[in-house]
Every structure is written in C-alpha cells, then in structure tokens.
Amino acid sequence: MNVVVCVKQVPDTTARKEFLPDNRINRAAVENVINPFDEYAIEEALRLKESQGGSVTILTMGPPSAEDSIRKALAMGADSGVLVTDPALEGSDAWSTALVLSRALARLDYDLVMTGMESTDARTGLVPAALAEQLKLASLTYASRVEIADGKVRVNRQIPGGYQEVEAVYPAVVSVVKGVNEPRYPSLKGIMAAKRKEIQKLGFSDLDLPADSAGKTGEKAKAVEVTPRPEKPAGEVIRPDSPEAAAGAIADFLQAHKFI
C-alpha cells in the first residue's frame, strides 16, 4: 500500500493573521506549521504502512520554506517527499492547486492519496474533491475511519448526525477528519533519520501545464474582500434574587434560543 499524503504549510493556527493588498494571507509575517488536519492524514498513512507494508510519500506545493513541513512528516516516519515550488505558482486557488498536485502525482506510484479534510488557513475544503476530479478517481471525503480490505478502501464518512459507510476500489482520494487518530510526535531517532531521506523538488516547467493554468493568472476563484470577525459582544449578566428566579431565567434563555 503506497500512500501519497498531500500536505499544506499554513500559518500557525493561533497566530494573528495579516493580509496582503490582494487579500492573501501574509505568510512571511507568521510562524508556519503543517496544517493540523494533514497531521491526521500523515498518521493514518503511517498506520496503513505499518499494517499493510508499502511506503508513505509527502507531497506539497508551496514556497521553499514548505520543505520544513515535509521534513517534519519525514521525522514522523514518512519515507520521502516531493516539494512543488515555483514563483509562477504563487497565489494559486484551490482548483489550480489540485491541478498542480495531480500533475505531480502522475509522476508517483500510489495506491491511495490522503489529505486532511481542509486547511486551517483558507478552510475551503475543496482540494480533496478537486484532486479526485483531476485524477478521475473516487473521492472519499471526511473519513473518520479508514480500512483496507479485498482491494477496496472503506471509510466511515462523517455527516451531520452520523456517518455513511463508503467504499471504493483504489487508487482513490481519501480526506480525513480530526480525531480519526492521535498523530504521533516525531522521535529524536525519527528526526535524525529524516535528514537522510530524499526530498525531490519540482518546478512549474516539470508539470507540463499551460502557463495560464496556475498561480495568479490561473485563478478561477478570487478573494474579493477580507473582513475580520466582529468582536464578540460582552455576555449578558442576569442577577436573579432567588434560585427559583435563576432557574426560570435559564429556562427562558434556553427556550428563546430554541435549545428546549
């Protein structure tokens, strides 16, 4: 079972985000980390490798600094990495990101492509399905459980109020939700071993794509405006005179907000 995990380097989730004039996040101004959702995909891929054999390859598109994210995944136990980096790719939207990743995947040998359910920066969650579309593969998104049996991949697909059991022959694209597993920490031996693992670098010209298919020129979706989330208003404080009045006030509140 050879798995390629597509990861994205994102600004630290807890960092205050700044925006560039074209409404993109200023990534240079903050600390960047592996998209936390992708860590679940990496862990799931490592577990598949441990139970089924095979290899785990990490694929990312991003600035040269995205190599740090690949390095961390290699320290967790992945075998090799591919970094697609080129100034021409800067500003790519979800669709062209998927297009670029699909062309890089064409150069790799895989049974399964795994991703996190979304990235914590833009949070569109579009890339997994767009990637499956580009690759003409089955798309199994929001998996909370992944199982390989009889040449098929079976997942529990998280939906409101429960889950669907979905299966497909592989190769296929699987995106996982938070909580599908508990991602491991890289060990010191893993960190040392990661230095000896190969990271292949690809540029735009290696992808055999028309010049206007990615980057700013290839964008199909455009961020028109960025608005900070409004400040949370201060909560309402009720000071009832008796326990009975307090219970009544709580019941009124819950009823008014349709909780009861």
Binding site: R71, K72, Y185, P186, S187, L188, K189, I191, M192, A194
Partner: protein, 380 residues
C-alpha cells in the same frame, strides 16, 4: 564566534516544545496538586527517545550533544518543573556516570534499558548528616569476597522508589573523599527500601525521599570506576548535572515570563492594559534580559562539555546565575499577576515554588561559588 543552534538542534527543540505544550502543559497543574508521579508522561517521553538523548546509538540512545540535552530540559521545565527534574536526573546524574566510568559490560547491562525508559535512573549521594560536605558521607560498603554489603541511609533522592537503578556513593575505605566508591544498585535488590515521599514546597510529582540500605548485597562488578574514586565519579556527574539544572531554571524563568507577558497585555487597569505602564515594562525587560543571559551561560557550559574542555566552573557559573535568575523572575511574575498570582488557580505561583529547589539541589548556590573560586584560584 557562533551562538546559532544547528538545524538538528532546532528540530529537536521544536519537537520537544510540541510535546511539552500539547501533552505536558495540560497536566502540569494536576501533577502539582496530586503529587502523583506522572508515569505515563515519562513513558511518552521515552517513546520520543528523550530518555536516551546522551546515550550513544550503540546502546540504544541517540548520542546527542549536551546543548540538545539543555534544549530538551528547558522546554519541559517551561511547562512542568517536576517532569523536568524527573527526566533531568535520569538523563544526567542518573546515567552519565555509567557512560563516563562504566566498563563495556556495565554499559551493555544498563544503558539500553535506560535509553528505552525501562530503567529510570537516580543518584544517591546526600545523607541526613552529609549534604554540602559530601566527603563526610557514612553509608558503608564492606567487601565480602566478590561482593560488597551496603548499610546506611541516603536522603533527598530524586526519583526515589520510581527509579530502577541508583548510582550510590558509599564508604569502602578510610575517612574523607578517597575512602568513597561508587556502585550501581538495582531496584529490587534485597534490603533496599524507600522512605515515604517528602512533602515538598514545589516540584510535586517528582518523588523525593530516603533510600535505605540494610545489608544490601551488591556484586563487586557493579562498582563504577576504581575503588576509592567514588567522590570523583560524583563530582564529575554533578558537573554535567548542573547543565541540566541550569536548563531547568531557564525553562522555569521563561515559562513564568511568557505567562506574565501574556497577562500584562490582557489585564486592564486604569483603562488600559497594565503592559502599557512603564513600571511593568521595565520589570518585563529585566526579566527577559536575565533569562536570555542565563540561557547563553547554559549553552556555553554545554558547548564546552561537548568539546571535551574543562567546564566545571562554566557549569557552576551557569547553575548559580540561572537558578538565582529563575527565583527572582518567577517572584516578579507573581507580582505582575498581582492577587491572581498568589492563588493556585493561576499557574505562576507553581513556577515560583519550583524555582526555589534549583538554588539548593545539585550543590547549593553557596557551594557553586566555592567551586567557581577554587577553579579560578588553583594557580595553574
């Protein structure tokens, strides 16, 4: 001159920081409150290979340098002083004497199990009547054929009861430093007993107390180094041990500083965050300056140790400065929190209680001054 961390050291620091923040920090207050030994976190640290950080690869460790070791201890101490001292004692004074003095057979017997975390280490020098004057220790080791029989009591022993292995200094000859030899005593040996854990001001969760020897039979081949060299074994262990304690103090100071910086920007009085008052800004600037200086002194001692240079005075200076810094920085952090700093619902008072121990153990700061002065005045 180069004070930059290597790429490896940065990755190690970041990996330990990640572990410390996500796995240790949420547990730190409860460990302090309950005083229970955090066995699960020690096990998790072992799975990250942290327990064998300075043990060579051939014995199952990672054979890393003392700067990496200092980074590791600082990151743990920045969230939990108790876990930091548990791991520090195991890694430095608990295992380094075997690295430095052990025969191949001794190394092969103990180091792989120490690197994997199966055996936690401890260091037993102090006795009820022998603290700073370590050469006056009275625990006796009497030779009987191919064995030694140990009798006596050690006290203030970190990892007491939880450790699987104790480096024990005992008297095999006449009075004074030259009559002392070092032994490795395995937990489970008949006659080895432990007192109940002491109720400490801080570092709760790290068990401290008496290790009692009643006719404990130790094979002669478990002696570390030649007979009569036990005092030297202990002093050398304490040299590198002080790098660890210094790093622990840097972590405690930094942890409290980070909390104070965040709080000062949130706490509003007189219509603005208290961080906007110059009085507080000056406090924070002094705290940050001292913590940084302490860290650089710790790295300096660690780097000298890794280069194989004499680092006794550098380690003593780092330990003295870092632990005194940790003490006043954590006190000032409590001050910045005001009344909230004095209650246990907020974490800074724990840092203050934990910091006090670092000025006392592995050589009081008065002893550090003697060590530093002796190195300077020895005249060669």
């Amino acid at each position: 001159m180069n004070v930059e961390l290597s790429e490896d050291q940065i990755m190690i620091r970041d990996a330990v920081r990640d572990f410390a923040r996500s796995a240790v920090q949420p547990r730190a207050a409860e460990i302090d409150r309950s005083g229970e030994f955090p066995a699960d976190l020690v096990k998790q640290a072992a799975s990250l290979d942290l327990l064998g950080i300075v043990i060579p690869e051939q014995y199952g460790g990672t054979g890393l340098d003392h700067v990496s070791f200092a980074l590791f201890i600082e990151e743990i101490a920045a969230v939990s002083g108790a876990l930091a001292v548990i791991l520090d004692v195991h890694t430095s004074v608990g295992s380094e004497p075997i690295l430095d003095w052990g025969t191949d057979e001794q190394k092969a017997r103990w180091l792989p199990r120490m690197a994997s975390g199966e055996l936690l280490g401890a260091f037993a020098l102090t006795e009820p009547d022998s603290g700073s004057d370590a050469a006056s220790l009275q625990t006796a080791a009497e030779r009987r054929g191919s064995e030694y029989v140990l009798n006596g009591t050690k006290t203030f022993i970190t990892n007491m009861g939880e450790a699987g292995l104790y480096i024990v200094m005992a008297r095999t000859g006449g009075p004074g430093a030259r009559g002392i030899s070092a032994f490795v005593v395995e937990n489970g040996t008949e006659g080895l007993r432990f007192g109940s854990p002491m109720h400490k001001m801080g570092l709760n969760g790290s068990p401290t107390g008496e290790v009692i020897f009643e006719d404990v039979v130790v094979p002669a081949k478990h002696m570390l180094g030649p007979e009569g060299s036990g005092f030297k074994v202990a002093m050398k262990a304490l040299d590198s041990g002080r790098i660890g304690i210094s790093a622990q103090a840097v972590g405690l100071g930094r942890g409290a500083l980070d909390l104070a910086v965040a709080y000062a920007q949130e706490r509003v009085q007189f219509g603005r965050p208290i961080a906007q008052f110059e009085g507080l800004q000056f406090m924070i600037a002094d705290m940050a300056t001292a913590v940084d200086a302490a860290r650089l002194m710790t790295w300096q001692a660690a780097a000298a140790c890794d280069r194989g240079e004499d680092f006794t005075h550098l380690a003593a200076m780092a330990k003295l400065f870092s632990t005194d810094t940790a003490m006043w920085v954590t006190i000032d952090a409590v001050q910045i929190f005001g009344g909230y700093g004095y209650i246990k619902e907020f974490p800074v008072e724990r840092f203050m209680r934990d910091a006090k121990a670092t000025q006392i153990y592995e050589g009081t700061n008065q002893i550090q001054r003697i060590v530093i002065a002796r190195e300077l005045l020895r005249g060669d």
